[in-house]
């Protein structure tokens, strides 16, 4: 089994707003191995993006990382100095996010933006950085990379811009690449291309990927393991096949059932299955299990106490009283 590259232990990131505490990330633990893709699924507000930013220590006031460990090849990133973190960002861990259009500085040419990532971490001349940038463009499948490298961001399409972001993210051969909803803003055909590209590059470069999304279809396609997040906690963690074949947590099951599909088995019932209720206000979390108000399988203990994580079978964990009777 490949070595563990990134490990989170009980990471807690809280936001302090007007005297109240919002536990955006509340005790998140998982690990990613070399070459693995971990899919992180959850609705908006579940804490997925804050987790990613916490790993890179880019959480700004009023947010603060208040507990836990983030181990990159054994080194706790939460204990690193600012300078050490700057060396790590972009070279050991990189991130791409949702809107490539706004993620690129409109005033700089493409080759200079990729060149920036390279120049900050590798001792190269400007010319060498530019050449490497063109090479990266070629690797991410941009046609005529030499001439396109001289373009400005607004001269490229959305799909190409995201490829450029990927090029920037992988230019220093990072150990982990965090992708925060990278294809949400792109159309479906481009999405398929980008996913394919990321998979291919992952194999070529040996980079582990942490893929954050709310789209279960994407998760099914790219991940080896999946963590489902709800209200700041991971409620289920399993291998991708196990998750889709035997979803344990009621939330996961509800998510899978809510995917619209042509209902061939029951043509009479064409209604969309939704999860009743709404995501809880993190300022007023219910005592006990956060999913309790919307859960179909409720027990008395669910209202009183928050469930702890239990290993259902090797590699599959769930946070639910249904599987933990005592």
């Amino acid at each position: 089994m490949a070595a563990t590259i990134l490990q989170l232990n009980e990471l807690k990131t809280h936001f302090y707003i007007d005297g109240a505490v919002v536990p955006a990330v509340d005790g998140v633990s998982f690990s990613i191995r070399r070459g693995e893709t971990l899919g992180i699924v959850g609705e908006s507000g579940s804490g997925k993006s804050v987790t990613a930013l916490s790993i890179l220590r880019l959480v700004d006031a009023p947010g603060k990382i208040v507990g836990g460990k983030v181990l990159l090849e054994g080194t706790d990133l939460l204990k690193c100095s600012k300078q050490e973190m700057r060396k790590i960002r972009g070279s050991k861990i990189s991130m791409i996010f949702q809107e490539p259009m706004s993620s690129l500085n409109p005033l700089f040419r493409i080759r200079d933006q990729i060149g920036e990532a390279i120049g900050l971490h590798q001792a190269v001349t400007r010319r060498e950085a530019r050449e490497k940038a063109v090479e990266m463009l070629r690797l991410v499948g941009i046609p005529s990379p030499e001439s396109r490298a001289n373009n400005f961001p607004h001269q490229m399409s959305g799909g190409m811009q995201q490829r450029i972001m990927i090029a920037m993210a992988l230019s220093c051969r990072p150990l982990v690449m965090i992708a925060d909803e990278p294809t949400t803003a792109l159309d479906v055909t481009i999405q398929a291309q980008i996913l394919h590209l990321m998979d291919q590059l992952k194999n070529d470069f040996g980079t582990a990927i942490m893929y954050i999304t709310h789209d279960l279809g994407v998760v099914a396609k790219v991940s080896q393991n999946v963590a489902v997040m709800y209200a700041g906690k991971i409620v289920e963690y399993a291998g991708v096949y196990d998750l889709f074949d035997y979803p344990a947590h009621p939330y996961t099951r509800a998510l899978l059932e809510s995917i619209p599909r042509g209902n061939k088995t029951d043509p009479g019932n064409q209604r969309l299955k939704v999860i009743s209720g709404t995501v809880p206000n993190l300022l007023h979390l219910p005592a006990g299990c956060s999913f309790y108000p919307r859960c179909g399988d409720r027990f008395e203990i669910c209202a009183r106490e928050a469930p702890v994580e239990v290993e259902m079978k090797p590699g599959q964990y769930v946070r639910c009283w249904k599987y933990n009777h005592g």
């Binding site: 790590i88 960002r89 972009g90 409109p106 400005f152």
Partner: protein
């Protein structure tokens, strides 16, 4: 089949600029004025200090093409030399003001905190005073002279540029590509210099150019009031000051420097407008 050269962004901008008649006229005028200032000593037909009391207060004619002043000094030569000081004061004071204003504004806007609160407070107070009053105050404190004049004018513009730089910084710092820069490992100062600075420069260059015109006017006003550069060194402002006494006898002593000021101010306004027209809409893609 002919291969087309890909159009560069800069090429597009330069062509757009040149298509605009106002900006060409403005640019042309400024080039001429600058050349006059640089080569003033060579162009001026007479030594500006050469007094010729026999030929005082002459109207334009020959050989004194624009007449003479009350000491018999050639009006044209004095106006030409005056270009040097007016242009120098105008441009240098704005450059200083922009440079310092951007530094303070960017730091205040980016880092926030107590420094920012302090800066905003001071800027608000300073901007409550008319610009001329601010420069006068500083001239009182520092005493007359060319360098103090430049400093005084720079000081009076300083709050304005801080405000502009700070506001632009506040909005640029929220852009996603700033976070992107952090993600590749840029530190705060790197972000300020390489990402924020270029993105706020556009409007500041435009405003700076327009304020050069104002700086020239203020220099003229201050010299006119007697606080700027003192005779015998000619500036348009102090030429007007000396000339006003003789308005009835030889109005050209006032008209010539006055026209010079007007043309220069208009030229800088045209240039500033031209730059503004090509910058903002282009930047939005």
């Amino acid at each position: 089949m002919e291969m087309m050269e890909p159009e560069t962004e800069r090429g597009k901008k330069i062509r757009a600029f040149l298509r605009n008649k106002t900006s060409i006229v403005g640019l042309g005028l400024i080039v001429v004025i600058t050349l006059i200032a640089v080569f003033a000593s060579y162009i001026a037909p007479y030594d500006v200090r050469a007094q010729n009391l026999a030929e005082r207060l002459l109207k334009p004619g020959w050989p004194h093409l624009l007449g003479t002043d009350d000491f018999g000094r050639d009006n044209l030569s004095r106006a030409i030399l005056g270009t040097r000081i007016s242009l120098a004061v105008g441009v240098i004071s704005v450059l200083i003001s922009v440079f310092l204003g951007m530094m303070v504004g960017m730091i205040a806007g980016y880092f926030g905190g107590k420094f920012d609160v302090l800066v905003v407070g001071i800027v608000d107070i300073l901007m409550a005073f008319p610009t001329i009053l601010l420069s006068l105050t500083l001239l009182f404190i520092l005493g007359p002279g060319l360098s103090t004049l430049i400093i005084a004018i720079a000081f009076s513009f300083f709050p304005r540029f801080i405000r502009i730089a700070r506001a632009s910084t506040l909005s640029v710092k929220e852009e996603k590509y700033i976070e992107g820069a952090r993600l590749v490992g840029r530190g705060d100062w790197g972000i300020l210099i390489f990402h924020i600075l270029p993105n706020i420069s556009g409007p500041i260059i435009v405003i700076g150019t327009l304020w050069v015109a104002t700086a020239i006017r203020i220099e003229a006003s201050l010299s006119f009031l007697g606080f700027g550069v003192n005779p015998p060194t000619p500036t348009w402002g102090n030429m007007i000051r000396s000339g006003v006494t003789f308005l009835q006898i030889n109005p050209w002593l006032v008209v010539v420097p006055g026209l010079a000021i007007m043309v220069t101010v208009i030229a800088f306004n045209m240039l500033g407008d031209g730059i503004r027209d090509i910058s903002d809409p282009r930047l939005r893609g």
